[in-house]
Amino acid sequence: MSQAIVNGILTGGLYAAFGIGLSLIYGVTRVISAVHGAFIVIGAYLAQSAWMAFGLDPFLMVPVLLVIGFGLGYGVQRLFIDKVMRRRVVMTITLTFGLDLIAVTGILLVFGADLRTISVPYASVGFDVLGARIPLVRLGIFAVAVILALGLELILRRTQIGTTIRAVSQNRTAAELLGIDTGHAFGMAHGLAAAVACGAGALLALIQPLQPFMGLSVLLIAFAVVVLAGFGSIAPVLISGMILGLTENLAGLYIGTEYQRLAIFVAYLAVASILPAGLFGRRFYAH
């Protein structure tokens, strides 16, 4: 039991890191970005490559990935999404899924179909608390995920660009009237979201063998996280991630491991239909 809770929370942190960017993009641009999973996978592959080439620890790679992810997100927003952002969701989802397919193919062509993993020397290090084992790697992943989340929150709350992003998400016309470059602001928002996604990829690479087509399952987790969190600010996303992690682990322990994934989708649909606004309300930074 205590082990399942520890696992659930630690993995939940990672799930939250998958979902945060998606939540931010939707909150600001009202676009469900299906290319988000690809950002995570790209981050994972880059972290793995750095590990292979230079022996660089994935945790140390995170800052680099933040920069790369930012560039990717900014570019995707300005080059593609900007043009169709205000259309119906049918259009934006098709566009982003199209981008996802292109990205996945790119990953396949660049990195090949072979499995790739990272095996850090401290993989078996851990300590026991109250009868539950806490692996150091997992703790590190959780910590970095939380730091990424809080960092994003800080940027949105405390910086000039954060204020601009929130302003643009609330009233685009007014922002234009003030001379705000809204396209740039949307780009920044998507950039920040993709940065977190790319960074989270390094964390994923620490526990999961990499395959080019793994993006979809990651994307589904991100969907579930944001549906639970309701596109609010960052804290609900963190909590939702952990709820999912716990759901999965407790279902695995008490109902049976084969129901683990089913439990996630049941939680996802149950919350979506009973509480359409998510567990925490749906307004984006509207206090």
Binding site: Q160, T163, T164, R166, A167, Q170, N171, T173, A174, A175, E176, L177, L178, G179, I180, D181, T182, R283, F284, Y285, A286, H287
Partner: protein, 251 residues
């Protein structure tokens, strides 16, 4: 006659396929305080949107401070000094008053502190509201914040849509007072849209009356007051024959 601050020539625009403004010629010189009046659907808001660049001109041109800005987008015009306090105030409801004000200054590349002082001097009420989330304030407070935000952009032309709509008389008095302060002490040219014709005539130096997307009357406030009856015709939607319009327009 001084150079025009704003000059629209043969301006035509509208929404979708539907033209709203027909051939608008409007010339405003620096330092004017202009009230824009007209019945619902006459095109007042549309005109402001065309001036500020939210609607592209189909025909005709818009010049501002000697430059042809017809092709400029709203952002560029804002930076050039046109500020619009739009209908419904359009505050960033989730942001605090301070954030709303600060953002306006930084977005247009203006200093924050100096302009904030200027706005707070004009609306001391905002001082204690700086930390409030703007969406939670009263209508009057929101309008002050909106006007203040417009001023943070350091405009040379400030346009206010629906100055008094839905506000209590005491608040309206307060805003009218502020308006003349902005006009006189800051020397900013102002166009404001007002439903209440009498209020517009009392406040403005010059009144422009729009009807069916055209300028029906454009005259100094006292001259307009003298033609109150014709004004009422327009507001009631009665047609005014072309000749009369021309006479009035020339006045």
């Amino acid at each position: 006659m001084p150079d025009a601050l704003l000059d629209t020539a043969g301006l035509v625009t509208g929404y979708g396929q539907l033209p709203v403004l027909q051939d608008i010629d409007l010339r405003i010189v620096p330092g004017e305080l202009v009230g824009l009046v007209g019945p619902n659907g006459a095109g007042k808001t549309t005109l402001l949107q065309a001036i500020v660049g939210l609607l592209p001109a189909w025909h005709g041109s818009v010049s501002f401070a000697g430059q042809d800005v017809t092709r400029w987008d709203a952002r560029r015009r804002a930076r050039a000094g046109i500020s619009l306090v739009a209908e419904g105030r359009q505050l960033f409801a989730g942001l605090t008053v301070r954030e709303n004000l600060t953002l306006a200054a930084t977005a247009t590349g203006n200093a924050v502190e100096e302009n904030l002082e200027r706005v707070l001097a004009l609306f001391p009420e905002l001082e204690r509201l700086l930390g409030r989330v703007s969406g939670t304030m009263s209508g009057g407070e929101q309008q002050m914040c909106a006007i203040g935000r417009g001023l943070m952009c350091r405009p040379s032309l400030l346009m206010i849509d629906e100055l008094s709509l839905g506000l209590a008389p005491v608040v309206v008095d307060r805003l009218v007072h502020a308006l003349s302060q902005i006009h006189q002490t800051m020397g900013i040219t102002i166009i404001f849209v007002e439903q209440d014709v009498d209020l517009a005539m009392d406040t403005a130096d010059r009144v422009v009356l729009l009807g069916m997307g055209r300028v029906v009357m454009d005259a100094p406030a006292p001259a307009v007051r003298a033609r109150r009856t014709e004004l009422e015709h327009t507001f009631l939607g009665l047609p005014i024959d072309g000749q009369t319009v021309d006479v009035i327009a020339e006045a």
